[in-house]
Amino acid sequence: MGKMQFDPDIAGNGCAPASPNAPALDVADLVKRYPTGTEALKSVSLAIQPGEFFGLLGPNGAGKSTLIHCATGLAQPTSGSIEVFGHDAIDHYGHARLAVGLAPQDLNLDWFLTLEETLDFHGGYFGMRKRDRRERTKELLDAFSLTEKREERTRTLSGGMKRRLILARALMHRPRLLILDEPTAGVDVELRLELWQYVQRINEEGTTILLTTHYLEEAEQLCDRIAFINDGEIVARGTPDELASEYDVGSLEDAYLKLVGRSELSRAKVEAVLP
């Protein structure tokens, strides 16, 4: 498999980095306050380097999805800045959005569309030409073993197939930064392993990955660096080993349990008390 590249002509010259050393994602002092007064993000700062496989871990409601939504235009930040490869992602977001592919946590497919249309329309939203859309759609349907279903409406798909289609859709416009928000939630083991294998492969080809997941062993295996987010704040960041040592525990999972104040659930402690 050749390195995935982004052809500027396909998407309107919008994907070249603004500067050669620009981080893939640079979040600075990001605050998201909802009208109810809830502060979902409290001055979050985070930088992900090009080519990194970065994990964002935290309990439910910690602010992971809010951060992702702010980076992809699905939520309006209250203050702070977000840049994608050096391009502003909040006010003048055109270039930044071209570089980002989002596979959201929800299976947010349009029931009216077929699989082919889902990918074709997505490519169109990102300015891809018809011929390129057609070729890319075929390529992705093949790669995700969805070709046989290409003319069926998305509502007829199984949960696992919907998950695959969502990942294919996120990759359709050849993003340089792929954001995966709990991509394996509710999928079977076989598909989960396939997805990870696939995502690892495109990361090796140069695509930067931002991943949120509740599967800590996998985050430990896949991610170069990880940040823990809790109650809207980044509370720790580093390699899995660095995090384990920062929390003075033996594994990423134990570091996470310590973060959320549930160290009593550590496998070592549970095994010790089991008969």
């Binding site: 989002l102 959201p104 997505h122 073993s145």
Partner: protein, 274 residues
């Protein structure tokens, strides 16, 4: 899924004499999605409104028309047909846009468009034109059939086309507004059943307001749809019940104001983005 299967880089685009810019491709795709939505369910989105319009013409025109004969010197069936054409455009534009936006919000499928590089203006125009085109198709077919069967004339094409396009765009905007604001399907059907349809029916589709006793005649003058029907009826039949210039000006302003409100909603992400 084959992890080892190559995903090829984009092939260089061949040189061509005419090619769309990425922004044009984006907008045409957004619009294509809206049009394909109603074409996929055309029995419901085109067939049903056409049948409804022809039933109105049959019942009110043929059956009731045989008793009423003429209104202000115009055959009754001819008198009501312009209002029915307007009603078809208005209701289809409104219901298409409101239900399309709400359905996509409901499934969160709209996130695919919202996270694309599309601007608020592109998104708003595409959502608006979807319903506008559906209304145009239904109205156009109704007009052609009415022209063939009852000889519906066009007396002032400029006023007619201007008025119909403004009416179509006005109700498209109204549909977008309700779709964005709505949180459940009941919100859309409430607006259509309890606001839109009474305004249209009481705006004089089936009668001339001049025939109404007071205070209903005066009350009718506060109904904006009365002026829309007056404009369209003038365009088709030359029957002048409203001040054409003033009505066009007010309708233009109202449409522009509604468009400005919707653009603001799309820019701020009101009930679209978190």
């Amino acid at each position: 899924m084959s992890a080892g299967q190559a995903l090829r880089p984009a092939a260089p685009a061949p040189a061509r004499r005419f090619s769309l810019t990425p922004a044009q491709i984006r907008f045409s795709t957004l619009l294509r999605r809206e049009v394909s939505r109603f074409l996929k369910i055309k029995r419901q989105t085109l067939g049903a409104p056409l049948l409804e319009t022809f039933l109105y013409i049959s019942v009110f025109g043929a059956a009731l028309g045989s008793r009423i004969q003429q209104l202000d010197g115009i055959d009754y069936v001819l008198f009501i047909t312009p209002g029915l054409i307007l009603m078809a455009w208005a209701i289809n534009a409104f219901s298409n846009n409101s239900s399309s936006i709400l359905q996509q919000k409901f499934q969160r499928a709209i996130d695919d468009q919202l996270s694309s590089p599309a601007s608020p203006l592109e998104l708003l125009l595409a959502f608006s034109l979807g319903g506008f085109l559906r209304g145009l198709i239904v109205s156009l077919i109704t007009f052609v059939v009415a022209w063939l069967l009852i000889g519906l004339p066009v007396v002032n094409a400029v006023v007619l086309l201007t008025a119909l396009f403004l009416v179509g765009f006005f109700f498209s905007q109204l549909g977008v507004l309700i779709g964005v604001r709505a949180e459940q399907f009941d919100d859309v059907s409430f607006a259509q059943t309890f606001v839109l349809q009474p305004l249209i029916f009481l705006g004089g589709v089936f009668y001339s307001a001049s025939l109404l006793p007071e205070p209903f005649q005066t009350i009718t003058h506060f109904n904006p749809v009365y002026y829309m029907i007056g404009l369209v009826r003038y365009g088709f039949l030359g029957y002048e019940e409203v001040d054409v210039g003033l009505s066009l000006a007010v309708l233009s302003l109202a449409t522009a104001a509604l468009f400005a409100v919707n653009l603001r909603l799309f820019k701020t992400g009101y009930r679209l983005r978190a």
